[in-house]
Subunit: 297 residues, 2 copies
Amino acid sequence: MVATSANKDQLYIGIDGGGTKCRATIYSHEQGVLGTGLGGPANPLHGLDRTLESIMVSTQLAIENAGLSLSEVNNMVAGLGLAGVNLPSLYKQIIEWHHPFKKMYLTTDLHTACIGAHEGEDGAVIITGTGSCGFSYVDGQSTILGGHGFAQGDKGSGAWMGLEAVKVALLDLDDLGPKSAITEAVKAQLQAEDAMAIAEKMAGKPSSVYATLARRVFECANAGDDVAIAIVQDGAGYISDLAAKLLEKNPPRLSMIGGLAEPLQAWLRPEIAARVESPKQPPEMGAVYYAEKSFLV
Amino acid sequence: MVATSANKDQLYIGIDGGGTKCRATIYSHEQGVLGTGLGGPANPLHGLDRTLESIMVSTQLAIENAGLSLSEVNNMVAGLGLAGVNLPSLYKQIIEWHHPFKKMYLTTDLHTACIGAHEGEDGAVIITGTGSCGFSYVDGQSTILGGHGFAQGDKGSGAWMGLEAVKVALLDLDDLGPKSAITEAVKAQLQAEDAMAIAEKMAGKPSSVYATLARRVFECANAGDDVAIAIVQDGAGYISDLAAKLLEKNPPRLSMIGGLAEPLQAWLRPEIAARVESPKQPPEMGAVYYAEKSFLV
């Protein structure tokens, strides 16, 4: 990114919103990163009001962290990378929001993650956090794969893994499925005594709550539990397939981002794992770059 | 059921509520069935207000159908068999409802279905409609199996089958899963052009909407589609296991109830299919019997 004299002290705020949390970073060319803030879930698929609230909480915390006055928000150029806005109806709802920024530029969390991971250069990313999705940007062409939301899509994600864990526990406790160490792990984490208590605790819960069980599945798999190994292999197999499909577009780099990127790494197919490189910058910095690039056009 | 002179003209209303619809039947010993009414979804797991509304709609329609005045509701003894009230918190919410009946007795839809299917005698039932669940009542002991709700439980149900169908279509359209006739069937039914349109149409939808896709899976399976056959076999295998477990309790009879009972029959294991007998009375008559038995104790 090149700073022009007109742009040098312009304040940018990059916001990365997903199913579990929302991160904001305030940046200027003159001073670099000024402050950061962390808010709650910001996936509009699971609630517009909650998403806007999380965006504003992370924004305010970043402003406080930067030692700025809250009214400065009106001078900031915002870049938003949000999960779910590949769905046209959700994109429209967010873009029509009466936001407090000087300007607001909206794109998917995939796009800003990709910009961040490769510092604006071509590349591909796979996000495996609460949800899962693949994205590549090569020679001006973008490709999205997966990311169809919980529970119908997002295979290999934390929420998918958590749902599979709950299914295993319920079948096991009814003696209608294989025995697995997952059952005790789910009971312990949910503080639930039996199948009915598990069902009641999870009924109607959002994907972020299911995702909290994903670590338990990895623990059981790493301890040798066959059922857990099968779940992790199924999820990692899908992520490997997703990566292989993105690599067909010949991106110079491929990065994995999100809470499951690290534990999944060891379960990917070796030829895929060998291609995964660390992201150069976090998604919220990708959102800053996106805001700047859009603003200076 | 024995009618005493005091009971002969007492009006009973039996209400059977599930994930897709709610049926009410008004009955007296003197006149038999006086009227019936059909309302919308009545599974409190998916919304208490909607459930109470569906109960009142079906009640009012049954009263009109019987040619009675609406104020007669205050003289009726109601029996309610509702999905979801095996969860204690939901049972409490319904039982604390300021209902309009003279008396209200609440139990699970499984229990009233079982009473109806075997005319109050011992037996077992499997419900396979929007959800799935097993229940037996033998020698004063009741057993519940499954019924843990969409999407974590209810394997072999219409909603489970619909979700599996959507998953297949999304993976197929991303070229990350096997080709299946299910994909075109899902696109046609949802009037959705591509994966993103399917994801958007189904995002956040209740189990009853997923269940509308179940018939398409059976159609594809019966036409020889391997993916559809695998889904139906997986679901029917679970229902067969559920039946086998209920038969360990030695119920004199076993019935299957709900929209999927008929299409699933051909896919059950032969030794299970041979044991399935038609229900003698519908669940709403079971709810009438339950109301009467509870009232006359």
